[in-house]
Assembly symmetry: C2
Homo-oligomer: 101 residues x 2
């Protein structure tokens, strides 16, 4: 079963929920590329499992997560403006902290 690359972007107002979504995405091995964006490769069954986990977290809340597959051509065509930031979850507070490259 082959991997596919996905870009996950979220717009979550609730601080606690946003943290739990970020931790979930990190648990699936995705990389935290922006404050509200992760990217990484997943097998199809892992994507399905991730969606189940995210739906369980979000529930009926007015919050939004979007997942876009990125084929090799789309990924190669990406552009970056400004500086990349690297996010890590702070061990104590669990909140994302930006570490600059």
């Amino acid at each position: 079963m082959r991997f596919m690359r996905y870009l996950v972007i979220y717009d979550i107002t609730d601080d606690n929920l946003r943290l739990r979504v970020a931790e979930t995405l990190k648990d699936y091995g995705l990389s935290h590329i922006q404050y509200s964006a992760f990217v990484g490769a997943l097998r199809r069954n892992k994507l399905n499992s991730l969606m189940v986990d995210l739906r369980r977290l979000i529930g009926d809340a007015t919050e939004n997560v979007q997942i876009y597959p990125l084929c090799d051509a789309c990924f190669r065509g990406r552009r970056m403006i400004g500086k990349p930031k690297r996010y890590e979850l702070d061990e104590e507070s669990g909140k994302p902290k930006a570490a600059y490259f």
Copy 2:
């Protein structure tokens, strides 16, 4: 010259700069799909012009904008969890306000 669809995501700490980036993306006809994400189709020359404008805005600031092309297959493969939000810039403050579908 044909259109290509792009997803633009940004991670901008400075409130004023973030607003100016959002207004620029709106001026290029892109749709505000999340607090820090726009999507829309651009001709190649418009994409280049947008990148010039964004580089001028960002300058040397430690801020980050990423642009991903989305081919038809990638766009069709998108998944959404939770509720879509629609953003509009408030006429008075110029700040984004979420309008829920």
